[in-house]
């Protein structure tokens, strides 16, 4: 399910994405000059603010017009245009390899879309999986010519990583100490809980987005009879007899799970979004993410 003949990102989608721009609620400093205004005042054409002159300031930025009117020296401050660090973190565990299209493919589509938006705006895009080995970090991409590299890399991602959510996020944070936007695409189905993992992200002061991908089968299970459910990750077994009360209970649990994740994220300033694998990526990117303010 991880590879299909259908391209990950269709030309129509790419055309749509070209118009978009990643938005960070916090403007972060990048290392290189990018196309993005930074909180840092710098050398750009866009005026930002004035401040009184202090000794040692660059005389080139003194606003002489103002000095003529007020006879005080003010320094003109300009917005520094910076690049944005965009990290996309994909959960490639076995549990993501379910659904039609599989949650993993859906995650890759999302990651590719977001990455492409970043590439178009000359942002620094880095896509990684949770199980990324520490020593082989994912490629750092910049510029739209790197689209194909990014897609190749995405194609190479296979389900079957065994790292837990918290371990993966922790490793990611260790590898990437900088600030930026991090988009975690996962189904959050981890028996150890997702809370630790999200706390790591919060702790990094990153602008974190959690896209919670669930398949239609998980949201509306179509099961019948007496079943022995085998967990795809740890082969854990749950023996169930499908009944109306059980299905009701499952839905309640699922709703509680989603609500829990949402409120956990909201309390910690993270953006949470539930994505169902049946919802086309175009629609998600065009409407939902725009509404959430991740893209513009």
């Amino acid at each position: 399910m991880s590879t299909t003949s259908v391209p990950l990102l269709s030309p129509e989608l790419l055309a749509q994405l070209e118009q978009m721009e990643l938005v960070s609620r916090k403007v972060f400093r990048g290392r290189m000059k990018g196309e993005r205004r930074s909180k840092r005042k710098g050398q750009s054409v866009e005026f930002a603010d004035f401040r009184p002159y202090v000794a040692g300031d660059d005389l080139r930025f003194i606003d002489w017009n103002l000095y003529a009117r007020l006879e005080k020296l003010f320094l003109k401050m300009f917005m520094e245009e910076e690049d944005l660090h965009v990290y996309v973190l994909i959960d490639a565990s076995m549990s993501m390899d379910f659904g039609e299209p599989s949650k993993l493919r859906y995650a890759k589509q999302l990651a590719g879309s977001l990455g492409f938006v970043g590439l178009c705006r000359a942002d620094r895009v880095k896509i990684e999986t949770l199980g990324q080995p520490l020593r082989t970090p994912g490629p750092v991409l910049r510029g739209r010519r790197n689209l194909w590299r990014m897609l190749d890399y995405l194609d190479g991602i296979e389900a079957g990583e065994t790292a837990t959510l918290s371990e993966g996020v922790k490793n990611f944070c260790l590898r990437n100490p900088g600030k930026g936007i991090v988009v975690l695409i996962s189904d959050l189905m981890d028996k150890h809980g997702y809370e630790d993992a999200l706390r790591y992200l919060v702790a990094r002061q990153m602008d974190a987005y959690v896209i919670h991908v669930l398949s239609a089968e998980e949201l509306e299970p179509d099961l019948k009879g007496d079943l022995r459910l085998v967990d795809s990750e740890d082969s854990d077994i749950a023996e169930i007899t499908i009944s109306v009360p059980l299905l009701k209970r499952y839905k309640q649990t699922l709703a509680a799970f989603i609500d829990g994740a949402r409120s956990f994220c909201m309390k910690r300033g993270m953006a949470y979004m539930l994505a169902q694998n049946q919802l086309p990526v175009e629609q998600l990117m065009g409407n939902y993410l725009r509404q959430r303010g991740l893209v513009r």
Partner: protein
């Protein structure tokens, strides 16, 4: 409540092993299908939540198991065959008397009364314990042992089922004789010391009947104890039946009339539509009002019908159909054959040669010498004539003249002489005997006035026992008639013409030709009646034939052909008269006569049962056990139905995934 296991003990073992097997299979959970899911995370959480009330949860989970076990339990109980509400059968030997007479065909209970009786007996058979034996006797006017004492319930049931309804009337006496044969063997043995005397077997007697039979006198029940009488049928079952249907020649020659009489045994007046059919075609119809508890009669003018089968149908719409139809048949007219052997008797010859007489008879006149001829002997022995008149002559013995001659196979009239043999005797001749009495009730003397008849000379007769004196004189009987092996011999003690003189003035009086006609009608009456006789179902019918072949054929109403061989005295006795209807007799494939079988039995038509009135057997009154419903309620049917219902519920639960 009683348990009658349908399975033998060794069959129970595998059956009882089924429930543990089901439980085992359930816990082995062979049926759980493995299914890989992304994560059991949410499922486990859901289950954990449900496990809070885990006992209840377990109950819910295994509802299907419980339902299956319930089905099995019901099936097992059904196989144990619980029964309740049963009567205790008394004694180890039971005799069931089943009435299968015509009235048991009434449909006031069940499919009919016989089936109801069978149902009740079946219930009793079910109640029998394994060491008790039963015997089944069916009876109408004749009893038949359907099944001798046996303990095999299957055999009893089979034989019971084979009992057929008959069209016969009812008589309990013979059935009781048969039943008591085993119970009271001493009655059948000659001496109490007789080695053959069996141990008396006391038996309980169950009589299933509608009670319409004459009471049984002179019968001791003996070891038949207790006797239970189960009335079958409704006490107020109304019925209208044809109790008589006859045809008669009318006053005009050739004109036929049919008479029908219907009796109403109900409590309301009923108007009945009567339809008369001849050979299946409607020829007449009428309405008849029959008052309750009374009878009404009607007549049909048939006109000139030479022959044919008549069927009368009464649209009564009551519960007994068999008495709503009656049959009559008119045989093709045949003239009687009369042989007159006389040296010359002008008045008699003249009286037997009138136009009316010619229609009725075929007269052969022979001289006295004809008695010695071979032709006469053959004809006499073969019964070629219906009536032979010996005028002043007697048959002679051809082999030995000293021995008396043989009488012919026909009715005879001896004029002025005594028949050969010792049966008839006479006193010496007397002159001018005075006629003092005539028996006008006898058909021979019908419409004959003898008041002014003078007899010149007469012989007072001494007729054999059983004879009837028809003309009595002061000297003794002058005319008598006596039976002889199915025929009748009439002897006239005086001559009509003798030695050229008339010996009486009777011949020129009006009474003489009437007498000649009576003679022809009665003694010369055709062996085959113009109007076919009617007999009751089951009674043998004796048929005669003119040609006397070795066998004749009878076509029953069901168009079944039966051969009847010639029996004693040239009689053909036909026994198989169970069906009502017209029977046709074929001689050499030509239909010569018919006879009909009708029920015409008031006791059978009166189908009201009398539960309050005991039946009398000898000196014992056996009260009807009214409302004595011998029925064992079988539980297995209901249990299986319930099990089926549970199965349906289980199916629903399984399919709808609904648990409580």
């Amino acid at each position: 409540m009683n348990w009658n296991s349908l399975l033998s003990p060794w069959l129970w073992a595998p059956l009882l092993a089924v429930p543990p097997a089901v439980i085992m299979l359930y816990f082995l959970k062979l049926k759980r299908q493995p299914l890989e899911v992304p994560s059991t995370y949410l499922w486990l959480k859901s289950i954990e939540d449900l496990h809070v009330n885990s006992l209840w949860q377990k109950l819910r989970q295994s509802l299907l198991l419980f339902l299956q076990l319930l089905i099995l339990l019901l099936a097992i109980i059904a196989l144990l065959n619980p029964t309740w509400q049963e009567q205790k059968l008394s004694g180890n030997h039971l005799i069931f008397l089943v009435d299968n007479s015509a009235s048991m065909g009434a449909t006031d209970v069940g499919p009919n009364r016989l089936e109801e009786a069978k149902r009740q007996i079946n219930a009793l058979i079910d109640e029998m314990t394994s060491d008790s034996e039963a015997m089944i006797i069916s009876f109408s006017d004749d009893a038949q042992v359907e099944q001798n004492f046996t303990s095999s319930r299957r055999q009893l049931r089979e034989r019971l089922a084979s009992i057929q309804l008959t069209n016969r009337p009812t008589s309990l006496a013979e059935a009781l004789q048969v039943a008591s044969g085993l119970a009271n063997p001493g009655q059948a043995a000659f001496d109490s010391s007789d080695q053959l005397v069996a141990e008396p077997v006391p038996a309980a007697l169950y009589i299933f009947s509608d009670g319409r039979f004459p009471e049984v006198r002179n019968f001791a029940l003996g070891n038949l104890d207790p006797v239970k009488y189960v009335p079958i049928g409704e006490p107020d079952a109304a019925n209208i039946g044809i109790v008589s249907f006859t045809t008669q020649r009318g006053e005009k020659p050739g004109q036929l009339q049919a008479f029908a009489r219907l009796e109403n045994y109900g409590a309301t007046e009923v108007t009945v539509e009567l339809t008369l059919l001849r050979e299946g075609n409607l020829i007449d119809a009428s309405q008849l009002k029959v008052p309750p508890g009374d009878s009404a009669a009607t007549a049909f003018e048939l006109g000139e019908i030479e022959a044919g089968a008549l069927e009368l149908r009464a649209a009564t719409g009551d519960k007994l159909a068999i008495d709503d139809v009656a049959y009559a048949s008119i045989n093709p007219p045949q003239r009687s054959k009369v042989l007159l052997i006389t040296p010359g008797n002008e008045p008699l010859q003249f009286a037997l040669a009138t136009t009316r007489a010619e229609q009725l008879l075929e007269l052969t006149i022979e001289p006295v010498d004809y008695l010695k001829a071979e032709a006469y002997r053959n004809q006499a022995a073969a019964g070629a004539f219906d009536l032979v008149i010996y005028d002043r002559c007697v048959p002679v013995n051809a082999q030995d003249a000293t021995k008396p001659g043989e009488l012919p196979q026909a009715n005879t009239l001896f004029v002025g002489v005594l028949p050969p043999g010792d049966a008839w005797k006479a006193d010496a001749k007397v002159d001018i005997p005075q006629i003092i009495d005539t028996d006008r009730s006898h058909p021979l003397m019908n419409l004959i006035e003898m008041g002014n008849v003078l007899i010149y000379e007469g012989t007072p007769l001494k007729p054999p026992p059983g004879s009837t004196v028809l003309i009595d004189s002061n000297a003794g009987p002058m005319f008598a008639i006596g039976p002889r092996e199915g025929f009748e011999d009439a002897v006239l003690g005086f001559e009509i013409v003798g030695e050229g003189h008339y010996r009486t003035n009777w011949w020129f009086q009006q009474g003489f030709p009437v007498f000649a006609m009576n003679l022809v009608n009665y003694l010369g009456s055709r062996q085959v009646e113009a109007v076919a006789g009617s007999s009751t179902p089951g009674q043998p019918v004796a048929l005669r034939s003119l040609v006397k072949p070795d066998k004749i054929a009878v076509i029953t109403p069901a168009q079944k052909r039966m051969e009847v061989p010639r029996g004693r005295q040239n009689l053909y006795t036909f026994h198989d008269t169970q069906q009502l209807g017209v029977y046709r007799v074929l001689e050499a494939d030509t239909e010569t006569q018919r006879f009909v079988v009708n029920l015409f039995d008031g006791a059978e038509s009166d189908i009201r049962t009398r539960p309050d009135q005991p039946i009398k057997i000898g000196h014992t009154d056996v009260a009807g056990e009214s409302g004595w419903e011998v029925s064992r309620r079988d539980g297995w049917k209901w249990l299986l139905m319930l099990a089926l219902g549970v199965l349906l519920f289980e199916w629903y639960v399984y399919n709808r995934r609904v648990y409580l």
